[in-house]
Symmetry: C2
Subunit: 311 residues, 2 copies
């Protein structure tokens, strides 16, 4: 086995995921535990929770450096790391880390989140996505979208993250399809293929030149009028709304200046949403820059590497 | 007591509201019952439900004509009345009514809803709001908004309703403030005055020239970033989101061509929403045409009056 050189933690509210990593970035071993999730750790006993999860790695390989990201760096976590303001690149993110030393002498480095003070109407924030963007790459000016419950649209310029804005697309999709009268959807069967025809219908309307597509509050009502018109069946609603809200996210990102038709954009993440976003991009005359599957881990390593250079 | 000349029914899913009306339109008596609501009427026994509610009026005043609107005219009601297509005015709405005769000889007239076949992406529908617009008045070209769970924006032109579109603003507000992570709000105390400063903050952003205000899916995230920035308190969130979504409805109605800055618009309805909409209108350089409080009843009487002229 290659020599382990560090431990990378994705430490969130509900779980603690640890990876033992080699010098070349290879993942040699993993530990996943829900009992280490922040919400289950009592009285600030984070060090004990960490030792329970990765203590055997320390025992075998010595006090390896640990790099932690996720909600563990928030107010409710082990140590609160202030947001680094945009624009920021590797140097600023590395300078914004905080460290502490464990009883065994190992150093834990906590990565910061990012804040865009220029966002309207209030400064916007992210915690974790900036690390994925670093892992995607800062060497080429472009726009990057990170699909999710709270999607981020970010602009990479001159080797730094110039600014970003959150779109609550995933959450609005969930509200509409789970709780609304107008767009309540059937639960898809596990592993079922999306109804792409319905998805495309929603996305194509959002990308069309119809002025009504600028009216999101009206467009969502089309989940109902589409059924009344006999165009949508009950089993289509979920994917129709998915296409409509993701398409609307692109349309609104264009209106807000985050994307420029004809450009190439990055779609960063590792979940099923990426295929949906990739399907919408050409409707807005965008090509997609391939993203590494392990952007998050790469980002952590790049920031950690930068840190060693500067200390 | 003035002589009763007709009975007007607002007959919905959950209740039946009846009014005994004089020639001058005065309401002489009312009967409200939940047991007559469509969902409680078994085996299509609508005539029995009606007689139970207004039988004593027939006994005292003879077989007065009855005019019914509401979900009683839908597929799940007594008699399904097809939608009348826009553009339509008094003549078309009257021609679209359906009638039946009760065992006592009284005639029941059921009013139609309206459909806009030109709406995008699918034809839009309303059932009841068109009658309120008639009661508001068709004599002056203008835009009319009817605030609600599913607000309607309609254009009155040449004495007819030229077209309309639904905005699901009330429903989206409810989803965000009741079920979302980003904008879950405290339940306001009964009778409490809105936090107008928070409402205005949301509405003013929606009316601003910030390009980010065109991105509704992003703007809703400001309920969270406003708290993080220390601008919004927990008790502000509900009214902030209210101002933001109503302001966004105006902004989107402007983008979709329903309102023209500098015009006067009608705000029709009789609920507390009207004061909120009236507060937003000036932010979009709109003046408000006063609406009669009893627009719905006036509309019913106008359509019924038209019917007598043409039969």
């Amino acid at each position: 086995m290659p020599k382990p050189v560090s431990i990378i933690l994705d430490w969130g509210t509900s779980s603690l995921r640890a990876a033992l990593v080699s010098e070349t970035g290879e993942t040699l071993d993993t530990q996943d535990t829900t009992s280490g999730g922040i919400q289950f750790v009592k009285d600030g006993a984070f060090e004990a929770a960490l030792m329970e999860t990765v203590g055997s790695w320390f025992a075998s390989h010595g006090p390896l450096p640990v790099i932690a990201s996720g909600m563990i760096t928030s107010r409710n976590g082990w140590i609160e790391v202030p947001y680094v303001d945009a624009p920021a690149g590797l140097a600023e993110l590395a300078a914004g880390t905080k460290q502490l030393t464990l009883q065994n002498g190992a150093t834990v480095t906590f990565l910061p989140g990012m804040r865009d003070p220029a966002a309207k109407p209030f400064p916007d924030v992210m915690r974790g996505e900036e690390t994925q963007i670093v892992g995607f790459g800062l060497n080429k000016d472009c726009t990057v979208v990170l699909p999710g419950t709270h999607s981020k649209w970010a602009r990479v310029e001159g080797g730094r993250i110039a600014g970003f804005q959150t779109y609550a697309t995933g959450e609005v999709f969930s509200l509409l399809t789970k709780h609304s009268f107008i767009a309540k959807a059937l639960e898809p069967a596990p592993g079922a293929e999306p109804v792409w025809s319905a998805f495309d219908l929603g996305a194509e309307f959002a990308a069309s030149d119809a002025r009504a597509a600028d009216a999101f509050l009206s467009a969502v009502f089309s989940a109902r009028t589409g059924v009344l018109a006999g165009v949508l069946k009950a089993e289509d609603i979920g994917d129709y709304v998915s296409g409509l809200v993701i398409g609307s996210e692109f349309r609104q990102a264009r209106a807000a200046g985050w994307l420029i038709p004809g450009e190439a954009i990055g779609i960063v993440g590792n979940n099923v949403l990426n295929s949906r976003y990739g399907r919408v991009a050409p409707l807005f005359n965008l090509t997609v820059i391939p993203s590494p599957a392990d952007a998050a881990k790469r980002g952590v390593q790049l920031i950690a590497g930068q840190l060693q250079l500067t200390k």
